[in-house]
Each structure stands twice: as C-alpha cells, then as structure tokens.
C-alpha cells in the first residue's frame, strides 16, 4: 500500500449504537484515492450504517470520520458537494421523469451553463441505457431501471467519491456486467466505495476489500492479499505410485509446512502447504517428478473471495462449518 497516497475516507474508532444495539464498533478504515473499495458483510453487519455516517445522515455515538480530510458532522454539506451516492433501495420523486431527476440532482451542484448540464445529463442517460425512457415518469420504471437511474444520478456531478450501496443487487447479469464496467471506467476519475453481497463482483473489480461482521471490521486489505487466504500458499497435487516414499521426501524439505491427504478418482490428492512460495515453485514439482510417483495434476490452490469471506464470517479455517 502506497502510504503517500492521500486517503479519501478515514475513520477512527467510528461507532454507532441504536438504543441498545451496537450497529458499528470502533471502525478504523482507510480508503485510498482512485481505488475501487469493496465493502463486504452479511446483512446487519453495519455497512449501510457506515455509509450513512459518512454522508451525515446519522450521527456517530463514538469516534470520528473524515472524507477528503473534512469532518463528517461539521462539514457534511461540503463533503456531499463532492460525493455521488446510490442508496440501497433508490427512491426518487415519482412525479419526475428520469431527465428531470438528473436535472434536479445536477442543479444541486452546478448553476450553469445550461447547455453543458444538459449534455452531461444526456451522457449519463446514455451511460445507463435510459435515453429511450428519459422522459417517462419514474413511477413507470422497473427495479433495474431505477437502479440504473440511481447510478446515473450518483455520477452526474463528476463526483470525487462514488458511494454505492448494493449497486447491482436488483440487476440481471447483463445489467450487473454493465455496472461493473462503468465502475471500472470511473476509476481514473473517482474513488468508488461500494457495499455488496455479490462476492464475485468484488473479486472482479475491487482492488481493496473490507469485511465487516456484527459492526466489527474483520479483514481489510488489497484483494490479492486477502485471496492468498489464511492458510498461506498451498499446492494441489494428484499422484499415484509409491506415495509414502514421495511424502517423506517432500516433508523433508525445509519450506514444506504440511501435507493434507485425500483421495481423488483412486489417486492420492495432496494439499501441500509451503512457507516459501518461491522455493516451492522452483523445487516441488521437480522433486515429485524425479521421485517414484506419477504426477497427474499439479496446481497452486486458488482461493475465491467467497472462501475468504466464509472463513472470516464463520471463523472456520476450511471455509465451511
């Protein structure tokens, strides 16, 4: 992580309690500029609460939060002047059309020139594929169309920080793909902070991920670091022949920390944990091939974000209860 890069969002001990329910517990968060920051967690983890605190819609019961170095309570309006926000369930004024909605939002940020504002509105409508429905009242829109309008209104102001609460939740696969493409395109202009349940999407576009559970930060870091998993580097090896001899040879290597045995189609299936990835990459396959076994499969274990997520949330090393 480049320390010199300024943080767009910083929270210190940020907490929120509703009556007796602690929705957020002492959250310390740092979001780098121009990153796509995935904010993960099960329902009730505190994701929306965190977003609302950053927007000044609710007040913290402890700690502090800054966005662009400005205090989220005292300088909320100044912060919101640089943010684009898509709520989890977007609700707009039903009597407005899509174009009027974007015009209303744009008027909160820009006072002119009218031609440039209208051009921006057209650009946003096109981006979310709503040009043909721009002048229809929102009350006639489907859930997916509202969601796409939500993305357009969030970005109409060329925001420096785009906060998206479950942006792809009610979209079909094509819609989801489009949203992810838009997010990727926007990365060079803005920082994207988004919460989601769709782990696949996070893995595809995010560069930093936070996992929140029961109001508490459970994991935070670059996606590559999280995908390595808590088990470290593991190789999958399928082999047959004199397996016990090979096992002794492998375990004798100083960079091998253990072997988990298994069976696959009548062959031995190993998961070899190593402490030195480079040494393993150079020596493990060579050692096996030169030994008394036939190697039928050899690969480095790839973790899915879902595995990491389940490990973190369920506290189980194998990712399943």
């Amino acid at each position: 992580m480049n320390i010199s890069t300024p943080y767009v969002i910083e929270t210190q001990g940020l907490s929120k309690t509703y009556k007796k329910v602690q929705a957020l517990r002492s959250l310390d968060l740092k979001v780098q500029q121009n990153s796509i920051f995935g904010f993960l967690g099960p329902n009730g983890a505190g994701k929306t609460t965190t977003i609302k605190l950053m927007l000044g819609l609710i007040r913290p019961t402890g700690g502090s939060a800054t966005v662009f170095g400005m205090d989220c309570i005292r300088q909320s309006v100044e912060i919101r002047a640089r943010i684009g926000y898509l709520p989890q369930e977007p609700h707009f004024y039903e009597y407005m059309t899509a174009r009027e909605t974007l015009r209303f939002v744009a008027s909160c940020f820009f006072k002119g020139p009218k031609k440039a504002i209208e051009a921006r509105i057209d650009e946003m409508l096109e981006m979310v594929d709503l040009t043909g429905k721009a002048d229809r009242p929102i009350k006639t829109f489907s859930g997916g169309e509202r969601q796409r309008l939500g993305i357009a209104q969030a970005e109409v102001n060329y925001s420096d920080l785009l906060i998206l609460d479950e942006p792809a939740a009610s979209l079909d696969p094509l819609g989801r793909r489009d949203v992810l493409e838009v997010m990727s395109k926007l990365r060079k202009y803005t920082t994207v902070f988004y919460s989601t349940h769709i782990l696949d999407d996070v893995q595809r576009v995010s560069d930093t991920v936070v996992i929140l559970d029961k109001g508490q930060l459970e994991a935070q870091g670059p996606i590559e670091a999280l995908l390595v998993g808590s088990e470290g580097v593991v190789y999958i090896v399928h082999l047959k022949g004199e397996v016990e001899v090979a096992r002794k040879q492998v375990l004798a290597q100083p960079w091998v920390s253990g072997i988990i045995d298994g069976q696959h189609n009548g062959e031995s299936a190993w998961q070899v944990s190593v402490s030195d990835a480079q040494a393993a990459e150079a020596g493990l396959l060579k050692l096996l091939v030169n030994g008394p076994v036939v190697v039928t499969e050899f690969s480095r274990k790839q973790y899915e974000l879902e595995d990491v997520f389940m490990q973190v949330i369920e506290g189980d090393q194998n990712g399943r209860k």
């Binding site: 609302k52 927007l55 000044g56 819609l57 609710i58 007040r59 309006v77 100044e78 919101r80 002047a81 640089r82 943010i83 926000y85 709520p87 369930e89 977007p90 609700h91 707009f92 004024y93 009597y95 407005m96 009027e100 209303f104 939002v105 008027s107 909160c108 940020f109 820009f110 006072k111 002119g112 020139p113 440039a116 504002i117 921006r120 102001n157 060329y158 925001s159 420096d160 202009y189 803005t190």
Partner: protein, 264 residues
C-alpha cells in the same frame, strides 16, 4: 471534481445551500403535475357550488356584504381541511419512502429541505385554495348583486384567510418532523381544526390562540378578523393576527430544530 471544467459550481454557503434546487423541485410538484388544477377544481367546485346556491336559489338578490361574510367563513374553514390532507405526508412520506435520505445525501441543508416545503406548499395553497376560488366568488357576486365587493378590503380578508391556512400548514409540517406516521399528523391537526369551536367554548382564552376567530365569529356578533376587515368594522382583536402568525413561525422553527436532529 474531475472532468467538469465547463461547469459553474454552485457556491451558496450556509443554510441556504440547496434551497433553490429544492424549491424548484417542490414547486414543480405543485405546478408541473395535475395537483394544481385538481386543487383548483375541488375548491372552485365546493365553494362555487355553495356560493351559487346562496346567490341564485332565491329570486331575491341577497345583500353583497352578507354573501361576502358567508364566503369568508366557508373559504376559511373548508380549504383548511384540504391543507391538512395535503400536508399530512409532506415530511412523513419522504422520511418513510427514503426520498428525504436521498435528497439529503446531496449538498442540500436540512433547513433548505424544510423551508422549501413551507414556501412551495404555502404558495400552492394561496393560489389554488384562496386566490382562484376568490376570483370566482368575486365575479359571481358582482354579476348577481351588481354590487362588487370592496377589493382592498376583500384582499385584506383573503390575507387573513391564508394566515389561518398557514397555521395548519406549519402545524402539520412540525408534526411531520415529530412523528413518523401520517395518522398521528392528520388526527392531531384535523382534530384541532374540527374541535376549535368546542375547545373555545370550554376554555374561552383559546379564542385568542386558535385561528377559528380569524374567519368565523363565535356568537351572533361579527367579531372575527377577516369578516371585520371585509366589512370595514373594527370589532375584532388585531392581536389575534400577530398571535397566529407567531404560532405559525414557532411551528416552523420547531420543525427546523427537530428535523436537524433527525436520523435517516
């Protein structure tokens, strides 16, 4: 902000930030939808029908002044019910639907949000429930009696009628910030509107605090403010105008204070 060099940024500061956008949006709710003509139709229909019955049901032409006093009473009472119905969901509806949270995620201050509702709805009520039916009433009475009402005095009476409506508008708005159910807002405001005369009967001092005597006399004597202004008599308490105006401002003030503490 990236890529927006062609745009001129809004540079309003303080509580007014976003007031222009919100006001435009709220005014468009009245004037760019069917709301304005539906309200005009309702109040022109109700008040026009009753007034026509008074003017045309008898072969004798009624005195123009008496018709005016009756009209002031009618237009001071019935449209107030409409105000309460319209205003019941103005704040509560937005809190519940999530549009308030969405709007307040933009650079719009909470005072701007509330004041835009007060101004836009106030103007809507003034135009559709006070002015338009009054134009019809003035015209009909002038045609039938041949004795048009004194225009400055009629306008003074209309101002007082509007003040009465504004009392219920601001009360509804304040209650909308205090409660999260439409039922609570409408039952309190409608209850007060309909029970005013009874309450004043029980506790006469309330006559100096409630808007009833702005438009409707309590006894046989014409001592309500608007009819007196209309007739050019002075048998009324001018302090009631100030009290109702102050109460209305107090309601708006409480609404602003409460809304600034609201969590979405």
């Amino acid at each position: 902000m990236a890529g927006n060099s062609a745009m001129q940024l809004v540079n309003e500061r303080g509580w007014r930030r976003g007031l222009g956008s919100m006001l435009k949006s709220e005014l468009s709710r009245w004037w760019k939808t069917r709301m304005w003509w539906v309200q005009c139709l309702i109040w022109v229909g109700i008040l026009g029908f009753i007034l026509s019955a008074i003017l045309f049901s008898s072969p004798d032409v009624p005195p123009s002044g008496e018709v005016g006093v009756v009209y002031i009473g009618l237009s001071g009472f019935f449209p107030a019910v409409g105000v309460v119905i319209i205003m019941q969901g103005v704040v509560v509806g937005e809190k519940k639907s999530g549009t308030a949270a969405w709007v307040l995620s933009k650079p719009i201050t909470r005072p701007a949000f509330i004041l835009s509702k007060v101004i836009a709805n106030g103007l809507g009520v003034l135009a559709t429930m006070v002015i338009v039916p009054a134009v019809l009433a003035y015209t009909l009475t002038a045609i039938r009696t041949g004795d048009p009402w004194n225009l400055p005095r009629f306008l003074a009476a209309l101002s007082v009628i509007f003040l009465g409506h504004f009392f219920f508008l601001s009360l509804s708005l304040m209650l909308g910030t205090l409660f999260s159910s439409r039922g609570a807002v409408i039952s309190i405001t409608l209850g007060l509107l309909l029970m005013q005369q009874t309450l004043i009967g029980w506790l006469p001092f309330l006559g100096n605090m409630l808007p009833w005597k702005l438009v409707i006399p309590i006894g046989q004597q014409v001592d309500a403010v608007a009819p007196c202004l209309f007739l050019g008599t002075h048998n009324y308490s001018p302090t009631l105008i100030a009290v109702i105006a102050l109460e209305s401002l107090l309601f708006v003030g409480i609404g602003l204070w409460r809304f600034s503490r609201e969590e979405f």
